[in-house]
Each structure stands twice: as structure tokens, then as C-alpha cells.
Symmetry: D2
Subunit: 366 residues, 4 copies
Amino acid sequence: MSGMWGDNLKLSIFGESHGKAIGIVIDGLPGGITLDTEYIYKEMQRRAPGKNKLSTPRKEKDQFEILSGYFNNKTTGTPLCAVIYNTNQRSKDYEKTKSIIRPGHADYTGYIKYKGFNDYRGGGHFSGRITAPLVFAGAIAKQILEKKDIIIGSHIKSIGEINENSFDAVNIEGGFLKEIISKDFPVMDDEKGIKMKNRILKAKEDMDSVGGIIETAIVNVPAGVGSPFFDSVESKLAQLLFSIPAVKGVEFGAGFDITRMKGSESNDEFFIEKDDIKTYTNYNGGVLGGISNGMPILFRTALKATPSIGKLQRTIDIQKRKNTEIKVEGRHDPCIVPRAVPVVEAVAAIVLLDFLIEKDGIPWMI
Amino acid sequence: MSGMWGDNLKLSIFGESHGKAIGIVIDGLPGGITLDTEYIYKEMQRRAPGKNKLSTPRKEKDQFEILSGYFNNKTTGTPLCAVIYNTNQRSKDYEKTKSIIRPGHADYTGYIKYKGFNDYRGGGHFSGRITAPLVFAGAIAKQILEKKDIIIGSHIKSIGEINENSFDAVNIEGGFLKEIISKDFPVMDDEKGIKMKNRILKAKEDMDSVGGIIETAIVNVPAGVGSPFFDSVESKLAQLLFSIPAVKGVEFGAGFDITRMKGSESNDEFFIEKDDIKTYTNYNGGVLGGISNGMPILFRTALKATPSIGKLQRTIDIQKRKNTEIKVEGRHDPCIVPRAVPVVEAVAAIVLLDFLIEKDGIPWMI
Amino acid sequence: MSGMWGDNLKLSIFGESHGKAIGIVIDGLPGGITLDTEYIYKEMQRRAPGKNKLSTPRKEKDQFEILSGYFNNKTTGTPLCAVIYNTNQRSKDYEKTKSIIRPGHADYTGYIKYKGFNDYRGGGHFSGRITAPLVFAGAIAKQILEKKDIIIGSHIKSIGEINENSFDAVNIEGGFLKEIISKDFPVMDDEKGIKMKNRILKAKEDMDSVGGIIETAIVNVPAGVGSPFFDSVESKLAQLLFSIPAVKGVEFGAGFDITRMKGSESNDEFFIEKDDIKTYTNYNGGVLGGISNGMPILFRTALKATPSIGKLQRTIDIQKRKNTEIKVEGRHDPCIVPRAVPVVEAVAAIVLLDFLIEKDGIPWMI
Amino acid sequence: MSGMWGDNLKLSIFGESHGKAIGIVIDGLPGGITLDTEYIYKEMQRRAPGKNKLSTPRKEKDQFEILSGYFNNKTTGTPLCAVIYNTNQRSKDYEKTKSIIRPGHADYTGYIKYKGFNDYRGGGHFSGRITAPLVFAGAIAKQILEKKDIIIGSHIKSIGEINENSFDAVNIEGGFLKEIISKDFPVMDDEKGIKMKNRILKAKEDMDSVGGIIETAIVNVPAGVGSPFFDSVESKLAQLLFSIPAVKGVEFGAGFDITRMKGSESNDEFFIEKDDIKTYTNYNGGVLGGISNGMPILFRTALKATPSIGKLQRTIDIQKRKNTEIKVEGRHDPCIVPRAVPVVEAVAAIVLLDFLIEKDGIPWMI
């Protein structure tokens, strides 16, 4: 099993990097929502490859076609299916080396799980390309959340060792987030951004790659979203964040740093002002006991360096069952972090919408 | 929703810290498994409070009673329900301050979500006490996994700023893990362990608390366990790990540190030796593309300091809707990390068993 | 898998007829509902054995104990667990014949599925006794539904060949339903009821048993409940109705008779009167395209004769693998239909509440 | 919610009768299965319209295109998506009367549920056309089941009042079933078949329609498939059978007739012969306690007459909220029963495969 998710908003994803199409079915949207397709297109462009020299030269317009669930410019309330046809495949790049396992990729694990029958071209179903349909769904969720003024935005917190400040956990606002995500390279400090970009270009030059951290904030989430235990805000967000290829760590609020704090520090003290209940600090990232407390929800997602690199690496030939070497040819990103930003936001939007449907039902969405 | 989980092995948890009982229903075990109740009891004792001065003086024997699904010393194959009766409650401690929100706890978020009707005594359903039934289920899962030689073990990687080395990601073995977890205070370096314990006692003395990191290894997991995307090994583990109260971060393999590595470093290169396929390094923590690769599965879980502290804190009275102060009375742990170790292992065992049932069916379990 | 169900209201059932206890966990109720325990008790008494000579002389008070999720006389919003301890077991009745398969029961299929490890005493987990927790949950659902004036009631449509009229599919009302279900033997025509009871007593005298049909109506369900396809009103109701032991058929509206009607007959024509949209007839049982149309929801459930009979039957000894004979000793019902009435209503109430939570969220329940 | 189903084999359906395409995602198939596309095509042709004068003249080739999950003529193990493009739409037929509710259809209930935003053309997502993807999935399931010699077949038991004998519940064999389903009009008694066809043509001539009953057998299912309660064989089959538009009743074995039998009659007595355990009779339809007993699984599905009829009917105009009349124009089937036969078999195959994966895992499928 791999491709279905959700309780109140259900997703079913499908597709391979070099197959006919990739896509998604979304079930649980009410009838009557007019989609801002321009908004969706923009979100998908944030993820799309081939925009600049920081990313893979594979050009995919990532143009979606809605096959069902949308009629007279409104959702129908029945399952919405969207597909993105693959257009710019160079499958031959992969034929030559199909039994040579690419280190860091899912070539070996996919081969074992599927007994060698998985589509090996460009990673097949394991490709980051399968996140495009998630961005499609996320763009729908994001516009719906904006009806409740809920805004999701991220910045690139680090590329390799280059690091910028964190969001202001207490005072971050939606307008500021929107400003950040409108940037080509979403950072708060553009000078740091230049250094990060240079770090990526350096990796490219070295036929190597580099990782980084994305920090995300969700503002204006009312208190009371989520549940204790299995459906905690952290649990459901983490499940989807770790579904994104290359993610190796997720932390909320102060995250791993909170372990070095005393309770008297990490307990975010409450106060009431007029009728608003807030906390002075926000080391818990807006979530207590698995449930939102009304403060900004904050989390960081750690992504490893793209496994595809031009450098010579030791590996195995899985068919011949012997040791060998590989230089990964083909077109690839020296750093996946910038393109992963809208994916992280998309899954956050999806999870949040799922929670809000449980809390408030569906009528508010229309 | 909060309390049901699972695909192939399903759990349903219930209970409040100061109610009549807490418990769990486990569905999906085959008939014919003899449970080693001594093993279960030991696991539960690892979590139980009141063992020493590092933990809360509330004494709960945590003796479970199996109500169903177990007959003539074997599982029946139908749902197994176990309950643990609460015996040593001092509910009055909580009556006095029931409308005073304890910072860092779920008092406020629970109040909002449940409109003030949740059981506030000792955190109610949000209490760490509800993890006892998870340890019960985990102890069953652990013994079943041992039939495939799969061993799960953890050490306390850090308490506050006191930190010991990480597990050897490549060479860690089951025997070593068992040795570690047999310790009262599971660390590799016992001198570091003493420092950690002193750090906890210092926090207690200060009427404060402290957090820490648990590092866990799972060895002998065959390659091919897990799925891409929503049911990746990381996704399902993270969902349950973040269900544990106080967890604020989860990372696999090199985790957040991997973001500072180049692809040529973090790509674990493969080799074949006799018929074994392995990697030279294990920065990916035994998981590629969401699927196990046969190397040890490694992850770290970040826990915050116990929110219950005797120090004076600013907070609100939720009924009177005004600012106030609180010193949290009652019995509490100055550090939850040692007692959380078996909980982390339990949820890992549960997730892994769920995956193995999907992969291999149920007959091997008996 | 057998024991967990639900989307918006989740159930987890457990227990065996002669084990320590049977019970249920209910997840998804909001906090703040005061349960009318008298109402629950009455519903459970409708199902309880030993009330009169029509049913088994096994006396079980079926007194439930709520272990969690209920505090200060209100639901907490977290999982509610209720157990019913088994008190009046005569397990020895079953020891003697444990390897002799009782025809019509699940002895053989349970033995095969669970490799002989299932609890064979009194049918174990297959016992009709496990429906008691469903009646508990149904009694909660029923009282909540009454807040929307939704009333569920049934009559015994037939016992063996004795048959009474069907409900008036168009004009049936809640008050009439309540009157019917307040009867000890719920029929519309009490003279027919006497004949039915005599039919049951005749079966008892013959050391045989007899089946029957229960017809159920649900009134005041608003139009728009349910979904097309997998979550149609009929699909979800049928899934739970067929979960009740002994059920062999389920039909909605005119059911099997509709197959002999022409479209011009079975198409329930619509009309509008003031602002109410109704149909002149109701052969579709209040459901079109899987969704309620505002007319009474009507269905019939077919139950076979109790398999436990004192007559000599041919069967096998599963251990010795040879042919043998059996007279089923022990206490049993000559007809399960009267006791199944509240079970049928209970699962209908549960399904309907699950649907209404999807449609309207949870706030209306409190 | 409407379109996702399954535990071990998951389905996600989408599409509208007059939209761009209809389709399905199937998740849970292992990698390495070569699909017999000719077999699939034949099954889909059994359901396809426009074949003869018994069905609607709308011609749809129902040619499927596999978009994902299939590579080098084998399943990959990752989600398989197939779409069927709609080609022969005459949407204008529906424009004229879009606010006139067709009696017996989901026009009214869909309008209420989706606030008037559902696609009204040809029933939209409620159309029987959406069963084409189910037949696609069922054809895959059927071929896989044949690896275990499990054969599913149906005959038309009745059309209106014309009725043929039932299958021999004890001795029915796979070869016989295959023979029946290879017929254009699957009946055992072809003379009865001619009468049934005439009954359909008479309905057509009268601008009316007629219903009927489909009886289905599944042979060679091993004992031990299914579970007690919520996942009983009857429960899961019934859920999917009632998902098929027009189904109003489902019964297993003797079904409603069993209610008139005594226990001494309906208890299928067991015997052992060589090493085979069987029952002399099969009134329980191969299922006891929700679990298969190795005898043929037998059930009957009741379908109402097609709601679309050319006769004048009373109804309402939902926009103008006033009474009116309608003659349903457009192309429609005078009887849906013959085209529903492969749909009933398809959902049975899907449910059975889901159960077998739980029982035996996935390796046997390849």
C-alpha cells in the first residue's frame, strides 16, 4: 500500500516519473467551490523543474487536466481527479543502467519490495515528480483555508551549513508569509539567500548535491484543531511530511533544541489580553497535547542532498549481483530544497483542511 | 477522533489518568500465540512510575488484566482487550486548581476542543499514563518480532545538555541492544549515565524539569518493509512517535545533520559480500524511498521537559478568564525521558509488526 | 480483522461469550453529552436473555460499567469504553463437546480461521452475546438522534410463516414507532403477535428453532444523508446489519419485490406541498442514489433460526476427523428474532449518526 | 465521501457520465502480474452498452487506458490507474430538463447533498456508467482468483415475474459457471431466457422498464476466509453490492426464505469424506459466522427497474419549486439487469481478493 490517505479529505495518488501520467483523486470536497486555477498553476510552478539553473533542466510544464469532479467551474462534491501528462521524458537515460543501483535512491528497496517489477525509469513511482499532484491538492486546500484567514508559508532555513534566522514564533503574520513565498528563492534575508544559491551552484559545479532545512509557519489556526494520540497535529503532519522523498527529520516548535531546555523555559506561559488567550513564547510550535493552541504552528523539515550526483560512487549491479561503480547521468537537481518548499506547504494545507472538516464540517468551505 | 490506529494490526486505546481504568483493544493478532506475560510485565515495569527518585512517587503497579482474546494461554485471533485499573489516584490534588491552566500541558487545548468537558484530573486522557497500554501492545509485538530475530532497543542519547555517543549505525547488533535495555538507566556509557541522572536530580531539586533525546535501533529488519509515500517506514513510525506526549521532534539516520552533508557523503554506497547486500555507511537510517534496506533502522526522538513543575508560572484561569499564577502541585516526574524509552520501543514494534503482516501475512507469527 | 468499524464515529468491540467480559470502545463522541443511562439500560434489557420463556434461561443482567470517556455525568470527548462482565457462565456445558462441530454455528469456520485456538465456549467471540455492546452504543446513538427528532423503530414482520403487514412506508411516524418498540413483543397486530409467540413456543417444544424477519423504519432523516457508491446509506447499513449473527438477507424499500415492478410503478413520483418535497409512494425505502430523500428509511432484515437445537443432527468431530452426531445441550433461544430487534435498531442508529457527523459536524450533538 | 474503499486492496473511483473520463486507482496489487487485457476487455464488453436492442443505443467502446502501475506488461506494485474516456455524449439531452427531477433517480438527493452543484448530465457521478471502472478492477481480481481456481459466475434468476431455477447450491462447479457467463444472456434455461428477453422488449415497447434478480456463485473458496462481525463475508460483499446503482436487496444462501425454515432444516449438517469436510445442504450460502466454510458462496442481488422511462411521470421542478411532469428523453436501458451481471461479479471478485490478501498475503498472486 502506498497511495491512499485521509480521514475527512481523502487522497489517492498514482503515477511514475516516465509513465504516461501522474495524478491524484481528491474525495471529500463539498460541491460548489470555484477553484482559482491561476493560484493552482502558480503553486505548481513553484515546484516545477527547469525554471532556472538551480534545478534540473528537465522541462515539464506540469499542466494539469481535471478529469472529474469539476463542472461549470465549480467542484461537484464527487471525487475530483486531476492528471498531469508526462511530456519530456528521456527514458533511454535510464535503460542503460537499469540494474545498477543508484546510492541514496529507492532503486534497491523498490527492487526488493516489488521483486524487480517496479518502473525503474527516473525512480518510477518513487520520483519526487509524484509530489506534483500533492501540490495540486495542496493548492486547493490552501485557497479553501484562506476563507478562514489561515495562511501557510515557508522559508528556506538552511542550505548545507548556510543558515538564516528562524521565523518569529510568536509574532509571525500571514502578510509576511505571503511576501516570503512570493519570492523565487524564499528566504527572509536575501543576502543569506544569495549565499545559499551559491552553495547550490557550487555543489552543481562539483557534480555533487546539497541538502537543507525548510521552516514552515501556519497562522490563524484556531485553538482546538487536532486530537490527542494517533491523530495529533504533529502525528498527521509528520506522516505526510515524511511521505515527501528526501525528508529525514521533522520537528515542531523548538524541536530538538527543546530537549536542552528546562520545563520553566519550554512551558509557554499563558496570558489573556482582552479576550485573546496567548502564550508569551511559542517553543511548543502552537501545539499542546496534539491540539492547536491558537499560536502559530511552526515546524521544520530536514531534507537530504539529492541522491543523483555525477560523481563516481561505489554500488552494486543487482542483476549480476556484483560490485560496480556508477556516475548518475541524466538531468537532476543539485538541491531539492527550493522545489520542496511548495510540497511541504501543500501537505500541511491538506492535513489542516482534513482536521478542520472534522472540527467544523464542510459547509463553511463553499 | 484520537484513539484508533492501524492497517493490519489495529489498536484502540482508552482511559484517563484518574478514571476507573485505562486500556487497549488489539485486533489482528492470529490465534495460537502464547504470550510471555513475564516479558510484558517487565516492559511495563520499565515504564511504571514510582520505581526510584528519578520519577514520580505515584505508585501504580500497572498490572494488566486481559478481558478477551486470550484463552488457554493463547491468543484466540479475535480482539484482545487488556485493562489496567487505576489504583493510586489522588484526584483532589487536581480539584482545587481545575480551572487554572497548567502551562506546557494540554489543559487549555483540551478545554477548547472538548468545551470544558474533558477529564481534567492529572491530564485525563492526555496523560502520559495512557502510554501504558501502548507498552502492553508493544511488548506483544516485540516478542512476536523476535521470532524473526528483529530486536528493538534504545539508549538515552541526552538529558538536557548531557549527551552520549550515538549507536554505531552500521554495526549495531541485537545482543548489544538487549544488554542496553536491560539497564535501569539505558545508556552505553554509564559514567555519562550518572551525569544524566544527576542532571535530573538537579532539576528536581530546583523544582524544575528537563528533557532529552532517545535514540532507537531496530536490527535484522529484512529489506522490503514499508511503502513509498503515505505508508513509508518514516511516515508510520513518525505518526506513532508523535502520538507520545512530550515528543517534539523525530529524525531518521543522520536526521537534521544530513542537511549539512553533500550527496557524495549522505548517499550510503552499496556493496555485496557473499550474498549480503549492505551499505558502507548508514546515514539514511536503514530506510530508502520509505522502504527498509536491510541495514539497522535508526531514529531519534526529542522529548521536552515535563510540563509539571513546582516553580511559579504565569498562566490564566480559564473560567474566570483572567491572568493568574500557578505552582503545579501533585506528584510528577522531573524528567520523562527514562520512562518514555519503552514507549518509544513499543510503538516502533507495533508499526513494524503492522508492516510485516502486510509483507508476509500472519502465519509466521504463531 | 473483525472488530473495528467507522469513519466519523468509530467502534471497537471485544469479548467472548464465556470470557471475563465483553465490551466496546466508542470514539468520536463530542464532550458534553449527558447520557440517559436509564434509556441505555432499557435498550439493553430489550436484548437481554432470560426475560421470559421465549428466550434462553441464561440470566445475564447485562449491566455495563463505563471505564473511560465519561466524567461528571457527561461524555469527555475522548474514547468511551464500556464493559459488561460475564456472570452466569456454564462453560462446562461446552467442554464436553468442544471438538464436535455444531451445525449452523461458526464452530467449524472459526476453528479453521483461528487454527483451533478460538474460544469455543458458547460460540466465543461469534456469540450473539457480543451484540450487547452494540446495543449499548446504539442506545447512545439513538438518544443523540432524538435531538434531531430522528426515531428508529422496528416490528417483527414474521416468525416462520406467520406474517403481519408491513409498515406504512409513506405515513409512518415517530410516535407510532415508539409505541411499537415499547411492547414486549413488538408487532402492530397483537393477535398476530400471539400466533408468532405460539410458533416460537412450538419450536421450543419440538426442540427446534425458528427464524423471522424484522422490519425497521427510521423517520425524520433529512434529505442529503449518505453518499453514492461505497458509502451509500444501503451499503453502510447493510455492512453492519450483516455483522449481526444469523442475518442472511437485507432489503430496502420494496426490496426483492421491487424486481417484479415496472419502472412506472417503482419510481416514486415526487410532489411539492408548501415547502415540503415528498414522494407519493416509497418503494425505494427513502434512499435514492445511496442518499436519503427525506422519506422514511425502510428496510427488512432476515434472520435464520437459532442454530442451537436439541434435536439430533449429523456432524463431524473436528479433532478425530470423523462423522458423528450431536444434540446441542445448554441454554438457548428457540428464536433469536425478538432479541435481535434492538440490535438491528442499534446498528441503524450508529450508522445514521456516523453519516450525520459527516454531514453536520459534531456541535449539534451536545 | 463516496469513492474510496478497501483494506488490503484499495480502490478509488472517479468520473461522471458526461465528463471527460471515468476511472479507477487500484492500490495493493503486487508487482509482477501480467494482465490478460483480452480478458479485461471481454468483461468490460459484457457490461458495455449498445450491443443489442435490449440495452441503450448509446455506444461506448469502454476502452480503457492504463496511466500508471503497469510497465513492460506487468504490474509494478505501485498504484494502477486506468481511465475510460467518454466519447459518445449527448449532453444537450439533459440541459433542457436539468431542473426537472427524474423520479427514481438520484437527481433530487444529489441536488440536496451537493447543493445543486453536482453534474446533472446523465446522472453524473451517480450514473451506472461509473461501474465500468469497477468491472475493470473486477476483471483483474477475477484473473488473479483463477490462480486459486476460484471462479465467480452469475445467472439472471428473474426478469420481472419470469423466474428460472436457482443454482444447485451444493454441487455447482466452476466449469458450469464459466459456460453460463459466456452466454450473451446468462441463464441456465435458454427458453426461460427468451421469455425474459421478451419481457424486456415488452417493457421497451411500453416505454417502461423492468427489474430482476441476479444469482451469483463463487466456487472453490477455501474455508477460513472472512471475519466475524464488521468484516464478515456477507458484510463486505453487501457493502459493495449495495454500491451498485439500482440494487435494493441482497441475500445469502436461502436468504429471506431461510426465515420460514426450522433450525433443523436450515442448519447445514456437516460430514467428512476422505479428507473433505462438507455440508449436505447449503442454505447458509457457504458462510457461517461471517467466514467461508468451503461450500459454494451463493447470493442473490435484487435490482429495480431502470428509472429512466419514456412514460409521463409526475415530479417537481427543483429550481422553480413547483409540481410538473416529465417524460425522460435520451437513450436508456429498458432493463439494467443483464448489464449489471458483470458488475456484481466484479465487486464479488474484488471483495474476495481483499480477503485472500489478508489471509494469505500477496506472494501467491504473482
